[in-house]
Symmetry: D3
Subunit: 239 residues, 6 copies
């Protein structure tokens, strides 16, 4: 199957992915992740107490933001607006759930790890880049807690990464950039672990619904893309 | 395959579904939908002008709320809190997108239809009941616009309905009630049209990821459940 | 004295009143009250701790809301607006004060009862219906606390009910509906107990002030109307 | 009938009332009103355009505030809290309605007059002092509009003043101060015009309901007190 | 050097300054300060507990507000807007820092003193009048804490006062009024203590930057003006 | 004069300064500025319409934010808090005023340029880095407007840069880093133009007031530091 994607990529080709650890110095984990021109700074901060609403065990949560200048047309600053948009809240809830899917909270003691994902430059796929890079920041934060003796055993099991897929001009494609995303009526964000299991599947078809076989093709594409991302995370963590 | 669901239902059995039109008198469409003990009042109100941010064509949007007394433990009133929770916004965005999936907005003239889904009693599946009942309210609102001559042609194509599925004690089951929902680590909300195509798929597996064959089984269950709901909508609209 | 009210009612005639207990299943008290086409769902929820600002004794409070589709023209959802209007706050403060007028708070132990009054359909008199139905929900909630052994003695003394009165086309009338309410320059909400004493009197004459003898006539009308409502509450509680 | 009020006043005696016009220089009307130790600065500001929500005619509205240092225990600043309390909104709505009761809005052209009532020192009765002083500020603002030629005819008809009454230790008394107000279970705010008619009657009996003859006695007291306040307004306006 | 200021004042002449203590009766310190037509009510309220965020020692803080009718054109009420403007916050932070510059917080025990500065009438220089009058209210509040035995030693060292300076039509002038302030491109607020040292210097030159020798001349003017204000504070405190 | 600064810098030595243009691709100007470990991303976005409140001419404004992970202890996200802190507003107002000091707004046509300064990593001096880098982003944005023909003449006159100075352990020092800033009782932020004139001077001495000769020494230090920064801006713009 061939296609003409705006970027010239093959239908099953990820954008260039880079995962740079230690990008800033204060947070326990700090990762600049790029999926092509999409660049997200993921920092994981550690607080040695659990959340107020939880009697025991720790917690992992995420917050998401987009710098006003990150998009073609300047976005309004949510802090100045006085609230986070529904979209922002939906994304940060997704990131938090996805990262918790590889954490044994009871092993986190009474620690809270907050993963902040701030988009410096947006070109489609900011939430999947956030999850993929946020995982690496989370690993670094857990390592710092392990080194300091705050955690008796490793709370992490497995890896988590995410990618988007969609049907662009009739063809299922992997890792949509902004041009594809805005010209595509149905897309799906998929989060998987390193055992090839599904953590989140969020497919949306506003206007054009997708058939079962299309859905199946998209899930296949996502699975293979996520295998590559899992490898990229491993290489970054090994360096 | 057999299971022991708390309600005694078969794994592929919907709860008793009822769709009562004309429940209140002011809104153009007003439907009380019940999925077992879950009861949602869906009203569709019509305004003969498009949204401010859109130059032409109409719009369909949804808002969602849960009465404080609708749940076991009284929930806090969002109006008194001063904001809608992330969960509420996520749900109402889902309802809006789902309903727009069967509307030709360019045929809506410059009308806005707002579908309010207010949960009177909650027992799991409030968002899927909202979509299923909201569709019927939307049809009634469109009919009133057609009668008044505000619309030249029918903006609706096809039907939309929704159901939840999940893996309860190892078994894929259809239409989870509250007891199942709170004891189930992965569930999925599925929205489909009457052509059997997918409009939204939102699967979440916090803690326990699901395998591809589980995902496939859940999608099959959802498809058959939605066929029944589509029939229930038709019967309600015919009466 | 004769009049031609839009509804054909006599000047001293209430609308059909119905009080349906157990309308929903989770709240300790749940009442659907109707004054003609005005329908309010009143739920009384129980929390076994007093309010934070009070060192001892319990508390009874109320919250009020109107579903967006309850009125002729869709109202804006207060949760989406980010605040409750002045009107809403005024009404819920009135309901709370009225209900507390028949409760010995020191006998409530350290329980808080919250009475939520949510208007499903509005046709005038939503606040008086809320008080009248809210009282019945409160009785059911107190009974549940008595059954569970949380309260040593009965905190309730007497009954409380409410009705509106006003001068419509020169004639004092009882229990105004929406048509009368919007065409009437002065109206009064009266809350009384079963001893025939006044708990709240709120008369407003924007534009046309009322003379003392008019005020007297309105108070007489209210007294007789409230006697009927007190009876209706008794019948509902006896069933 | 005799009583021992904390202040030594007779049961039907107002506190010393003073109404000082031209207290500040920028607003069209600026009045410092004192009811004993209660001191409220009422300014009436004029804007030569009607409110956005009204197609024609002018508008009179009021806002109310209490300086944090005005009370025994410092109150929290509502601007810092981010919202006006329910009590504040209830009071400013009452002031606005009361003042509009003596204004022919159609004669106000397209002017908006805003009466700000800010309590410098509180000792009970701030809302009734606000109405009584606010009326004088309103008259001055209307006079400035008349002088500038903005209004063709006088929009004011009659006067409006307000006083509180209540049952203190079993005796109906006029114009409650803070000591009486906090030790009194039922009180009533009464707004009347110079024809002796009622504009607003707001009686509240939290805990101890009042009998019809008590209500009557309170209304009598209020009527005579308001006659004195109407005279005080006239003297202030004549000076 | 001569100039023609709108008020006829010499370039180095303050407006008439008055400092009236005991203006209201509830707050521990209550001062009405006037710099010409600018009038600010400063009240200092005492709470016998430190701020939540501070483990030991007391705190002095300030809040600032402008009554809506205080200015030529009515300002919007910040409480109704739902937030304090950036300008308001900037001013109240400045007042708080300035007053803390003469307080030994460790000697304040666990007391918090809040100085509220509410502008009754504005004619330029409201923040400098607030600091100058607020200091006197603070002294009175500390004295009341000393009398009650709450403080073992005097937490105050030195005095603090403030004045504005600016370049008006090419000439450095002292204590700008509204007419000068609005026609002047650079101005500076200076806060000093009674030892002639600088506590705050805030110079702003939007549009026209100032040269070093102009800056020096302004600082000289401010120093001499503040000496006079320090004397006025002393006289007020001695009376 | 010698000193032992934590960084080993001489008292009059700036940190390493770098100004990297074109850091992100969407905004008209995008600059990553570093003052040592302080890193701020400054983007200048262009909108071809003036602000709503201004009848003619353009506008330059600034917004400021700090990423939660930018500091030692994670800061709370202002968007999630629902408002910008007083500190944030004060800083962004300062940046905006400083940048406008070198812009002829009447030559900006009806364009608005918004300079967003987002701190990626904080180590003291974030506001002065923001102004210094924001100026360069502004120049790039103006150049893009000139290229597109939107501006007939150059609205920029002169350059603007900023630096902090303070007294650290008795010695006036230039460009404080976090360690110095937190251990220093008086500091000053100075904004100057390339003619050596002062645009803003903000000195604060909470606790320890500074003498006139100290103030003079700090102004001298700032002047020389800003000359270097002006050169650094020129080099960046020339490359």
């Amino acid at each position: 199957m061939s296609t003409t994607r705006p970027s010239g990529r093959r239908f099953d080709e990820l954008r260039a992915v880079s995962i740079e650890r230690g990008y800033t110095k204060h947070a326990a984990g700090s990762v600049l992740v790029s999926f092509g021109d999409t660049r997200v700074l993921c920092t994981a901060s550690v607080e040695e107490r659990g959340p107020a609403w939880k009697k025991e065990g720790g917690w992992v949560t995420a917050e998401y933001g987009m710098l006003p200048g990150a998009t073609h047309t300047r976005g309004r600053r949510e802090a100045a607006q006085g609230k986070q948009s529904g979209r922002t809240q939906e994304i940060q809830r997704l990131i938090g759930r996805s990262l918790r899917a590889c954490v044994d909270l009871s092993a986190l003691g009474s620690c809270t790890i907050t993963v902040d994902c701030d988009v410096l430059q947006a070109d489609g796929g900011t939430r999947t880049a956030s999850i993929t890079g946020g995982y690496v920041a989370l690993v670094d934060a857990v390592a710092s807690l392990r080194r300091s003796g705050a955690l008796k055993r490793d709370p992490l099991f497995g890896q988590v990464a995410a990618v988007s897929v969609g049907i662009y001009r009739g063809v299922p494609v992997l890792d949509l950039d902004y041009l594809e995303d805005s010209d595509c009526e149905c897309d799906m964000n998929v989060v998987m672990n390193d055992a090839g299991q599904f953590v989140e599947v969020q497919g949306t078809a506003e206007g054009h619904a997708f058939r079962r076989e299309e859905l199946d093709a998209l899930l296949d594409l996502a699975s293979s893309g996520i295998r590559e991302l899992i490898d990229a995370q491993r290489r970054a963590l090994a360096s």
